[in-house]
């Protein structure tokens, strides 16, 4: 994995130091220079221990559980082979929830386009710029449960949205959260409201870090604004757009909070993660739920891998 190499120079030094360490056989040398040094591991003991305990061991266990019919309590974990995986892909009510992700994917696309638009607009001089920036960004900081309740109030019959529409003479609004054909649209819109500000601020930061000389040169060449966007801004923020796209896609696949708080997954708004959580903790089918989580994990890893293939120069080194 090229992306994880430390600075090449440091590694060469490390290798040289190791060689030296091996050649020398003095007592107690191991702890000072070369070979297995103890001090760095003292510093790493807790961080690596926690990393293993709360990330790698669970992933390994999850894979193991996914091949069993374990209920979460039984001391015996009965192996069942690929049965859980077959169930995921053959039982329509499990696989169907992936379709719900499509609403959030569309929402994510809208979110990125809006964020890019507002970031571009605000990167040029604008009156009240900081106010606009702050207001557009602020929703991202709000507690998810609070947002859920705010939008329950917003979408409820006779709520903010209906009152607003009534003011424009539209008096027979649909049930925004009660109608199965609308509920996912409403929820995806809420997600856009919540997360757009983050993409917006990231894009804006990237645009503002483009050196001014580029714009000046473009001015000298008589470029118009669209050309500046197309040939200076767009290439300059390609990386952050790519990264946001990947995050948006994996975010859309693992939506949990918004629908869980607002509808609890009712009316066909159940997402894959809600279903996984229910399968594990409500119906005590830890084996099946683990298989579902493994499937989601593999999809997310696949997307990340594709990202690295498409944007290979993303992070060539640690930072």
């Amino acid at each position: 994995m090229a992306a994880v190499t430390g600075p090449a120079g440091a590694l060469d030094v490390a290798r040289a130091a190791r060689r030296k360490g091996r050649g020398r056989s003095g007592p107690g040398g191991g702890a000072t220079k070369g070979g297995w040094r103890v001090t760095p591991w003292l510093f790493l003991l807790v961080p690596v221990g926690m990393l293993l305990l709360f990330t790698y061991v669970p992933v390994a266990n999850m894979v193991w559980y996914s091949f069993t019919s374990w209920d979460g309590l039984d001391p015996v974990k009965e192996p069942v082979g690929w049965k859980n995986y077959v169930e995921i892909f053959t039982r329509p009510e499990i696989f169907r929830v992936f379709l719900v992700s499509l609403y959030y994917l569309v929402g994510a696309a809208v979110q990125l386009v809006l964020a890019l638009y507002f970031a571009t607009v605000l990167s040029f001089s604008t009156r009240f710029r900081n106010w606009f920036k702050g207001i557009i960004f602020f929703p991202y900081l709000i507690n998810g449960v609070a947002i859920g309740l705010v939008f329950l109030y917003f979408f409820r019959p006779g709520g903010t949205l209906d009152a607003f529409l009534a003011a424009f003479g539209f008096t027979e609004p649909p049930l925004w959260l009660g109608d199965p054909s609308l509920v996912n649209v409403s929820l995806a819109a809420t997600s856009v409201w919540r997360y757009m500000g983050l993409n917006f601020v990231l894009f804006l930061g990237a645009i503002q870090s483009i050196p001014n000389e580029l714009y000046e040169a473009a001015d000298l060449d008589g470029a118009n604004s669209w050309q500046k966007f197309r040939f200076i801004i767009a290439p300059g923020i390609r990386q952050i757009i790519g990264l946001s796209l990947i995050l948006a896609i994996s975010g859309a696949l693992s939506v949990f909070e918004m629908p869980f708080v607002m509808t609890g997954g009712a009316n066909g708004s159940e997402t894959f993660v809600i279903q996984t959580v229910n399968t594990a903790f409500k119906f005590s089918k830890v084996g099946l739920a683990s298989a579902m989580a493994v499937v989601l994990l593999l999809i997310v890893l696949l997307i990340s891998w594709i990202q690295r293939r498409i944007l290979p120069d993303e992070r060539g080194d640690l930072t």
Binding site: M1, V4, G6, G35, R37, T39, W41, F43, L44, V46, P47, V48, M50, L51, L53, T55, P58, V59, N61, M62, Y117, F118, V121, L122, F124, T126, I136, L141, N143, G144, V145, A146, L149, Y153, G158, T160, A163, F164, A167, L202, G205, N212, D219, L220, G222, N224, S225, W226, L243, S250, S254, F256, E257, V261, V273, V277, A280, V300, L318, T319
Partner: protein
């Protein structure tokens, strides 16, 4: 320098709503106030078309500049209304009495802006007080732990060369790709195996142990601290622990501030972990306490609104005070 505008007989491209191009401000990009708005469909096909569009946009700028400018401000104001209106109506509802709430519409302001009964109800009967206490405890302990763990890990990785270094770095990197929500099915067994289920430690330990982003922020910052400082201290006889505690840690302050802010916001807003691991009522954090409002106060929207406002106000205050740090923190955190 750009050539003087030449009048073309008719615009070639009707819907290329020219982003008012300015040609005579060679100073800063900020000077281009009249830019903007939906980038016109790019005729990036041939150079000829592109040049024609550019010429056209330059010609039309005296007319289209103001139009584009208006559209830009209209879109910005619309975005702000969309962001604010849902929050303002909840804010207004939180001051209404039950009867008043039933009789008035969501867009009507409350008769009295000093009616705090709903807030009192939310605080006492709704368990928000308990929620704030628990959130504060978890926030302080988990943040302290995250900072110590993160700086130690970053120190070890950046200031030492040792066998297995690449493996350790790779393990941390790979872990950023594992989405937390998916692994809880199995993490749950570990947490309950450790006897932490239904204790505050469950959330604390998970916030500390699964935070890789802050390690990256520390690592990135530590690279800018010159190694000669370490070497000088070592010549003076300081050991590694002293160097970490006396030299590196204090110099990391800006990075620590960044981590405190972005991690603090994340912990304050977290719902999933406390909901899964601390279902006991007394252990409710603000998210889970507020979530429980849906039950007993199901129809009392004025009380639910008050609870919601109580949760949002601290965030708003923090945002107003720490704006710049929050923007910077997110930018450095998210791009890692």
């Amino acid at each position: 320098m750009s050539s003087a505008p030449i009048r073309t007989s008719a615009p070639r491209d009707d819907d290329a709503r020219g982003p008012g191009a300015t040609t005579s401000h060679p100073s800063r990009p900020d000077a281009h106030g009249d830019v903007a708005d939906p980038p016109p469909p790019a005729p990036s096909g041939t150079d000829r078309v592109r040049r024609a569009t550019a010429r056209w946009a330059r010609d039309a700028s005296p007319v289209l500049g103001p139009v584009a400018k208006t559209l830009k401000y209209v879109s910005l104001v619309a975005a702000c209304l969309v962001a604010i209106v849902p929050l303002v109506t909840v804010f207004m509802a939180s001051f209404k009495t039950q009867a008043e709430f039933r009789e008035t519409g969501p867009l009507d302001p409350p008769t009295s802006w000093t009616n705090l009964d709903n807030f009192v109800t939310a605080f006492t009967r709704g368990g928000m007080l308990q929620g704030f206490v628990n959130t504060t405890i978890i926030l302080v302990v988990a943040l302290t732990g995250t900072i110590i763990i993160g700086t130690m890990a970053a120190y070890a990785v950046d200031r030492f060369t040792f066998r297995g270094q690449r493996l350790v770095v790779g393990a941390f990197l790979l872990a950023t790709l594992v989405p937390g929500v998916t692994t809880q099915v199995a993490t749950f067994q570990i947490v309950s195996g450790l006897g932490l289920f239904n204790t505050r430690w469950a959330a604390i330990v998970l916030f500390m142990g699964t935070d890789i982003i802050s390690i990256y922020i520390f690592l990135q910052f530590m690279k800018s601290i010159p190694k000669s400082l370490d070497e000088a201290a070592m010549l003076d006889g300081a050991n590694r622990m002293t160097i970490y505690a006396r030299i590196i840690f204090p110099l990391l302050k800006p990075a620590i501030a960044t981590v405190v802010i972005i991690k603090g916001i994340a912990i304050y807003n977290e719902f999933y972990l406390p909901w899964l691991y601390m279902p006991k009522r007394d252990l409710g954090v603000i998210s889970t306490s507020l979530f429980r409002f849906k039950g007993p106060f199901g129809a009392q929207w004025e009380v639910i609104s008050a609870g919601t406002v109580l949760v949002i106000v601290p965030t708003l205050v923090a945002f107003l005070l720490l704006q710049r740090y929050i923007y910077n923190g997110l930018t450095s955190g998210a791009t890692k």
